[in-house]
């Protein structure tokens, strides 16, 4: 009896604390801009019309906003993901044909927890369980691309329309590229040992035992872990962005990297390849560039390239994909990203 009451009280306290945290977060987010207006322009007496004033305000405001957004979304997504596992995703995808399989894989790629280092075990797990190569690749493209850090940054810096476009076209590229790669019949370019492994089908379901307290703890741990790994890049990126915001001429890009320059998109895609973990730093910088005329299609292509064509992940995938398959993968996904870039430069 005592245990039951104890648990109920503990639960109530857990949810009360969660409610308080949410309310505090909302308050901080709403008050962010006014707070920094006051600190920078009134408190520090910087002139809002001056470059220095603009740059300092941009830096303080953007850093706070992005950190708040990141912690909020990472926390929520980590909790959501605590309800799914790679094992369950594999079980769900087993037996689906190409086409539907590609769509399901891309969708599941978004909600299944995934870290770059799991790319190889996940790939082996899927393929060895009989999931078609193309479907597995749809998962592998969608998972890093439509990740919460990227989406949050896109939303926080460019608004929900651009974030929605990013998600929508990210998924489309994952589905189509996976389907195309599947049709090319490239199984012969997968390292042979992958097909020699026989996986059992019972999912090891550790998620059923998690309590809400466990899930909140997972959420907090994810926030700390991700913020801890990206904050230097974030500050550098926002810092450079602040300088550009304050000092670069308004039409900096209109002259040579605006919507009409056909080289802007491929260059952006190429620069994105080595940048993976620096997405957090690259984005604020890119936002400042977008203010100075960098076309939105180029921005989208750049962001997708950073996360989907990540060099560290390519290096890992080399262990299971022969160079020809890896090259084909990069070419197909890269082409998809290029097309999205050009499309949006033309229509936005």
């Amino acid at each position: 009896m005592t245990t039951k009451v104890g648990t109920t009280t503990a639960n109530r306290s857990l949810w009360t604390r969660a409610g308080l945290a949410a309310t505090t977060w909302i308050a901080l987010y709403q008050l962010n801009e006014s707070f920094w207006d006051w600190v920078v322009f009134t408190g520090a007496h910087l002139d809002p019309a001056s470059r220095l004033g603009q740059a300092v305000h941009f830096f303080a405001y953007d850093t706070t906003k992005i950190l708040l957004l990141l912690s909020g979304i990472i926390f929520l997504v980590a909790i959501l993901r605590s309800f799914t596992t790679l094992e369950r995703t594999r079980a769900l995808l087993g037996g689906r044909r190409e086409g539907i399989g590609n769509i399901a894989a891309a969708g599941l790629g978004v909600v299944t927890p995934f870290c770059s280092c799991s790319a190889v075990p996940a790939f082996i797990g899927f393929v060895a369980a009989g999931i078609p190569l193309g479907v597995t690749l749809s998962f592998l493209i969608a998972s890093p691309m439509v990740n919460e850090v990227a989406v949050v940054l896109m939303y926080g810096l460019f608004g929900w329309k651009v974030a929605a476009l990013y998600i929508g076209f990210g998924l489309l590229i994952a589905i189509v590229a996976g389907n195309v790669l599947g049709r090319l019949g490239l199984e012969k370019w997968v390292e042979p040992f992958v097909y020699e492994i026989h996986m059992g089908n019972q999912p090891v379901d550790e998620t059923a035992k998690l309590t809400w307290s466990d899930r909140f703890a997972i959420g907090r741990a994810e926030v700390c872990s991700i913020v801890r790994s990206i904050w230097p890049y974030l500050l550098v990126g926002i810092g450079i962005g602040a300088v550009i915001h304050g000092w670069a001429p308004q039409d900096l890009f209109a002259r040579w990297a605006g919507p009409d320059n056909p080289l802007a998109v491929p260059i952006a895609v190429l620069i994105g390849i080595p940048l993976y973990s620096n997405a957090a730093g690259a984005l604020p910088l890119v936002q400042a560039l977008a203010e100075k005329g960098l076309a939105m299609g180029t921005v989208l292509a750049f962001m997708m390239s950073i996360v989907a064509l990540s060099l560290p992940e390519m290096v890992l995938l080399r262990k299971v994909l022969k160079p020809k398959l890896l090259a084909t993968f990069v070419a197909v996904v890269g082409s998809g990203i290029l097309m999205v870039g050009y499309l949006f430069n033309a229509i936005l």
Partner: protein, 80 residues
């Protein structure tokens, strides 16, 4: 007791390695610890996320990095 950590060298895998060593030290255990990053070996344990912990060739968990105290409890239960 033989402890094997399966991983690919990413921060989570390194964190698990550190905590495993810490836990075993605090338990004053003489267990063997090895780190494996060979994917063919990992696949034999049927894991899909790293890092993973194997004790005496039995898979204990994968895809998480428990606290040192939890690891200590785990090792004690397996006869550390």
């Amino acid at each position: 007791m033989k402890v094997t950590i399966l991983g690919s060298g990413c921060p989570s895998c390194k964190a698990l390695t550190v905590r495993v060593h810490e836990a075993l030290e605090r338990l004053d255990s003489s267990a063997d610890v090895e780190f494996v990053d060979d994917y063919a070996v990992m696949a034999q344990y049927r894991i899909m996320s790293t890092p993973a912990l194997v004790i005496d060739d039995r898979l204990i968990f994968n895809g998480m990095v428990p606290k040192t105290e939890s690891l200590m409890e785990l090792f004690e239960a397996h006869g550390a």
